[in-house]
């Protein structure tokens, strides 16, 4: 099976999982206590208005009918209509998703750029002081709540030192007219980066730590391989041994961890967006739950699940691409 066919096959395999996510979110959100109609119309609505609203959102139909029409809608790209914001759910998601993507991708960028060198050095200098330090950093990193790191960063860099703004995040290509105090696009880019730094570090620390751990153990294994010994025996210098021979085969477990970490990071974004008051997907989901806006709860949960699946598929494909032994799912 070729790489393209493998890709298509993996995408098809994701469909039942997507339907499963929709099913779980549908039945969970329809079990939410409280009535969205009463939230919209206040405590004493007229019976006529209640009927009108229920008909509008299809709440007068039986549960299974609503479920199948929801599935049919999603298949056609319609995630429903937000009760609270009175716009299509998809519109709201498209508005909020880019900031979350910006935050999550930057967090992974930060994590990879720090974790890979740290893990490799740690493996190379095993049981030396630098290895102990990096292992302690990684241990603390996987054990610290990300939102607490966020709070500490705000206390130090915003409140004590006054260096970075504590809240809000926008994209570097935002319109300067919408950004206070920005005259040119360059100002927007700088301001956007300043606002990105703290949430990026807070969200990326856990990923950094878990990638460092796996990079280290994978490199330790890799450096014990026969072909590495052979390369050394042939007089390849240490730098060449590490980067040319040992590094690449050691990256497969790292890729797996990055793929799995995407799920943690998307969940972590809920916390980090709350701490830094960032209007992304994570905050949207909390707001949707607090407003009992269940079409929006379903839509955002589904979207986060779908994003994770895309990440997993990319992971699998890059795995197949890097490791020629992966037989593209053939048994």
């Amino acid at each position: 099976m070729g790489l393209l066919r493998y890709t298509v096959w993996r995408c098809l395999q994701a469909i039942p999982v997507l339907v499963g996510i929709l099913t779980i979110t549908f039945f969970l959100t329809n079990a939410i206590p409280g009535d969205p109609v009463s939230i919209m119309l206040g405590p004493t609505p007229s019976a006529e208005m209640v009927e009108q609203i229920q008909a509008r959102y299809g709440l007068d139909r039986p549960l299974h009918e609503r479920y199948f029409s929801y599935l049919a809608g999603v298949a056609q790209g319609d995630l429903g209509h937000s009760i609270y914001y009175d716009v299509p759910v998809l519109t709201k998601i498209i508005e909020r998703l880019p900031v979350t993507a910006y935050l999550v991708f930057s967090a992974f960028g930060f994590a990879l750029l720090t974790a890979i060198p740290l893990g490799v050095i740690s493996a190379k200098r095993r049981n030396e002081p630098v290895d102990h330090v990096s292992r302690i950093v990684a241990l603390i990193g996987v054990s610290t709540p990300s939102f607490w790191i966020g709070l500490l960063l705000i206390i130090v860099f915003s409140f004590q030192l006054g260096l970075l703004p504590a809240t809000g995040l926008f994209l570097p290509w935002a319109d300067p007219a919408n950004v206070r105090g920005a005259a040119t696009q360059f100002d927007v880019v700088v301001e956007s980066f300043k606002r990105l730094l703290m949430p990026m570090v807070a969200l990326g620390t856990l990923q950094m730590a878990s990638i460092t751990r796996i990079e280290r153990s994978s490199m330790v294994d890799s450096l014990q391989n026969e072909y590495v010994k052979l390369a050394r025996a042939y007089g390849v210098d240490e730098r060449g041994v590490i980067w040319k021979h040992a590094f690449k085969p050691a990256q497969l477990p790292v890729i797996t961890i990055v793929g799995l970490g995407l799920s943690t990071a998307l969940g972590g974004a809920v916390l980090i967006e709350t701490v830094f008051e960032i209007n992304g997907m994570g905050r949207l989901i909390i707001q949707a739950i607090n407003n009992q806006d269940y079409p929006l709860v379903m839509g955002t949960t589904f979207m986060l699940g779908a994003l994770y699946l895309v990440g997993v598929i990319i992971t699998d494909i890059s795995y197949a691409y890097i490791d020629p032994r992966v037989s593209y799912g053939e048994k």
Binding site: P16, V17, G20, I21, T23, I24, T25, L28, T29, A31, I32, P33, L139, I140, V142, S143, T144, P145, S146, F147, W148, L151, L152, I154, I155, F159, Q160, S263, T264, L266, G267, G268, V270, L271, T274, V275, I285, I286, I289, V297, T301, L304, G305, Y308, L309, V312
Partner: protein, 330 residues
């Protein structure tokens, strides 16, 4: 019938493998063997002691909460009532030896006071109850659920396996925290729902582990022998398959308690965990968010409590992993 006898012998042996003449490889699944290995590993030992200490505090605090109506908290000199606002209200005091705009720290409140004038140290100590209860219980739910699903799935294979694995894949695909929040918004913002929600969300973790073990064990000769001897499937799973997966599950469960504590802290921070005035670390951090400028130390203590607890579980988990890994042992 021989196979059945051997089975029972092995199951007992999983708990008390101290009998002589035991094969070295089989001994690796035993609890006593594990404890012996942990004792030899200094980091695992440290993790174990910290966990034992915090668990003891949590037990003490739980007795005081459930049975004594905080009588102990009132009786012990350095503790205060963990929930009620004090009569003399000194809000947001700094720790002893420090000063902030609202006053200077005293030995009365070694770590300072919160926004309602309650003693932070007392609330940290009483916060162990929520953290440890939820950490252990959620892991237990995930462990039991995941073990059952994984064992059945791996042992039977075929369509049972397909259906169960697609369901757990689905649960796994929704980000952990988001799934638990959705679950809690459906059932209620009570800490017991947080516990169940985190437990259900961690079923896929144990499922994967057990399933892969079961698939490899299924082909072993002694399972074939047990089958040939007419032992029921249920007994084969309970007496052979599950005890033989003991080591990796123990490691994963230890790490998972730490993960659960982190998740529950996050839930409480978002307002989905323990509700005020019940002391919980995540909720203390949520409250401290509004006072980061006048009382920055308020935000520090609950985070340290979470960090130390989770580090302890990670130390023990890593130590166990090393202790039970045959490659490192030999």
């Amino acid at each position: 019938m021989m196979a059945v006898h051997e089975t029972q012998g092995e199951e007992e042996f999983a708990d008390e493998p101290t009998e002589g003449g035991v094969d070295e490889v089989e001994a690796r699944v035993g609890l006593a063997y594990t404890l012996k290995q942990v004792k030899r590993d200094s980091t695992a030992r440290m993790g174990f002691y910290i966990i034992a200490f915090i668990t003891a505090i949590a037990a003490f605090v739980s007795i005081d909460y459930y049975l004594l109506d905080y009588a102990m908290a009132k009786a012990i000199p350095f503790l205060h009532h963990p929930e009620r606002d004090p009569e003399v209200i000194n809000t947001l005091l700094p720790p002893v030896g420090m000063e902030n705009g609202l006053g200077s720290g005293t030995w009365e409140h070694p770590l300072g006071t919160d926004h309602r004038g309650r003693d932070i140290l007392t609330r940290l100590i009483y916060g162990t109850r929520i953290a440890m209860t939820v950490g252990f219980m959620a892991t237990a739910i995930g462990l039991v659920g995941g073990t059952l699903v994984g064992a059945v799935s791996g042992y039977y294979g075929g369509w049972v396996d397909d259906v169960l694995q697609r369901i757990t894949d689905t649960i796994y695909a929704i980000p952990f925290l988001v799934l638990v929040i959705a679950f809690m918004s459906a059932f209620g913002r009570d800490i017991s729902y947080a516990m169940v929600g985190v437990g259900i969300a961690s079923i896929p973790v144990f499922n994967r582990l057990i399933r892969s073990r079961v698939v490899s064990i299924r082909e072993e000769e002694y399972i074939e022998a047990a089958k040939a001897a007419g032992v029921k499937d249920r007994n084969i799973i309970l007496r052979h398959v599950i005890p033989n997966s003991f080591a990796p599950v123990l490691v994963q469960a230890t790490l998972q308690v730490g993960v659960s504590i982190l998740i529950v802290a996050g839930l409480s921070f978002l307002g989905f965990g323990a509700q005020p005035p019940t002391p919980s670390w995540g909720q203390m951090l949520a409250a401290s968010r509004n006072y980061m400028l006048p009382a920055p130390t308020f935000s520090i203590w609950p985070g340290i409590a979470i960090l130390v607890t989770v580090v302890a579980f990670n130390l023990l988990g890593d130590g166990l992993q090393d202790a039970l890994d045959p490659r490192i042992n030999n």
